[in-house]
Symmetry: C2
């Protein structure tokens, strides 16, 4: 490790050490490291090699998370194994990476205390924004908590972004990037109804989750539009997981419920539902149709491939990062309509729906 | 928001404000917030409600990531949408959460510069450890880079942990939590061979990735043990994704390769392989058997459910966090054999293997 000698045995390498060893000017090193100026690939490679060799810590990184340096955005997510959320995070990261920004992901495990601790931590560290992902629980306490986060981040020159959640009530300094959740559910239910299905098992998610509320409401509107009554007994609430899909179908079959289609709240719930149908000797889609929501990669990996609602998760992540970057550039602080973005959803027709058999 | 008045309009709430409003002693608040002492649920709830109401930022959080406060561990991951890695991260988080620690996840996008920037950032922030997840590329430069990371973290009273990677060469202050990668591949290939398969398409992964090297080597050893030649033309390298599985099978079929089984390097590759077989009119497992590796949830959601190798990803994450916590408690700095942990793997038999048809 003779290379480390250049930096002295105790001290850190300086930008001058890097410039000298790379045979370029200090200004050139600075341009490469800032990431804000166009530099040739060759210069970038040469400088970064020396940076690695000397284990050089830039002042930007030393200051980083503290305002002046590399902007960093924090993404807070309930559960890191949720595929939809990780695609939003990937979108944030790809847009951040383009700008030379860093991203950090913290997980809250659906625990308000961990969420609070992480938001406070990130505020202290001076992140450019805190991006909260995923459906929210529709309690008054939630609105209050988010408003407090928004104001405390705003006061610290940071910013709160909610992705995949409805906007906050009142004048709160936060940006919302949402998708047409109810419209997607309306289109998906209409697809089943227009194929002739009348008895549909609906698994919208947890009753208190805003995402599930929107998906159920969209389905209800479609049933109304088709003049088909939606039996409340055919709606089963539960978590967005494989086990819930499996158990809800198994139990409905055991209770003798007659249905020709399953409208699942997510692709993962649909996967569980399809497996339970097959375990009961029913074929998908010949005997029972199954549809999902989200269009995560799983949807096209299942057999049959799942008809579902495409939600532009990665694009939502990119839009969230762009909103933060635009805001910083323009120095804009005003809260207005432009701070609420709603992206479109659409049905992706694959192989899991057929008209009901007689 | 009248509650905020307690903290004054400009200043932050103090621990005394919290204690007063909660009607408990300052010491009690401190015990709740430290997370290191047993406290009653009722006390915890009461204090945390006030903490939220006052938007109180603990000194621990204010100091946090800077040594004295809530220990934080950083997880660095190539790609946040990789299911295996997210399960390791989940294991780290659950073990961290038990101890009241926080975790942050950074993604490197397989870019050594971003990896460097994140390691430096985390070192500056005083994290208790940096945990690097996932297969490494087998280059000399990698060994040097990791040794530098390990030494610079060690010098900053932090620690490098490699999970799912082979240990570093020489005396390097790092902990490795690995799994019996080659043994799992040996067992999986043996399972196919003992079912009678002799012509097997092998998709181990990228040739330079340590994970893929181990999986291929395990398979080769099994073929040798069974006295079956493994045709090098039947080994196709490529990324661990669905598209590679699909394309490799499609191309092999087009070139007229005769095989009765696919030994895929991951479950996701297996999912792509199975889809390509079906697209060519072949049934799984009646015409061609398919096996995976990893045992992520996808494996049991596919039809047929995938026979695969179970890797204890969550347990590896928990073990990594425990190693860091034990190290901090004991003040241990010595590098020894105990710093290399290898967890076991085993074949999970499901429905995707049958003896070859004639």
């Amino acid at each position: 490790m003779s290379q480390r000698k250049a930096s002295g045995d105790s001290g850190r390498a300086t930008i001058r050490d890097v410039a000298q060893r790379a045979g370029v000017s200090v200004a050139s090193v600075s341009r490469v490291l800032s990431g804000n100026y166009p530099v040739s690939d060759e210069l970038r490679r040469r400088v970064m090699k020396v940076v690695r060799d000397l284990d050089y810590v830039t002042n930007a990184h030393a200051r980083s998370l503290a305002g002046g340096g590399t902007p960093t955005v924090a993404i807070l997510i309930n559960n890191i194994t949720g595929a939809a959320f990780t695609h939003v995070a990937k979108g944030v990261e790809s847009a951040a990476s383009l700008r030379g920004w860093l991203t950090l992901v913290g997980t809250t495990g659906d625990d308000p205390e961990r969420e609070l601790a992480l938001v406070n931590l990130m505020r202290q560290q001076g992140v450019a924004a805190v991006i909260l992902l995923g459906g929210a629980y529709d309690y008054d306490e939630y609105q209050l908590r988010m408003a407090r986060f928004a104001r405390s981040l705003d006061a610290a020159d940071s910013h709160l972004v909610l992705v995949g959640r409805p906007p906050l009530e009142g004048e709160v300094p936060a940006t919302t990037v949402d998708y047409d959740n109810e419209g997607g559910a309306y289109a998906m239910a209409s697809h089943l109804l227009s194929a002739g299905h009348r008895r549909v098992l609906v698994l919208p998610g947890h009753a208190e989750l805003t995402t599930a509320q929107g998906r159920l409401k969209g389905a209800q509107r479609a049933f109304e539009a088709y003049g088909v009554p939606l039996d409340p007994g055919m709606v089963r609430h539960g978590p967005y997981d494989y086990e819930h899909g499996y158990d809800a179908v198994e139990e409905s079959l055991r209770q003798g419920a007659a249905f020709t289609a399953v409208l699942a709240g997510t692709d993962v719930v649909a996967a569980g539902a399809a497996q339970a149908l097959r375990a009961a000797g029913l074929r998908v889609p010949e005997d029972v149709s199954v549809v999902g929501y989200d269009d995560i990669p799983l949807a096209s990996q299942l057999t049959p491939q799942l008809t579902t609602v495409h939600v532009p998760y990665e694009e939502m992540g990119r839009a969230a990062l762009r909103a933060v970057a635009d805001r910083r550039e323009s120095g804009r602080r005003r809260v207005g309509d432009a701070d609420h973005l709603v992206l479109g959803t659409h049905v992706v027709v694959r192989q899991s729906v057929r008209p009901p058999s007689q």
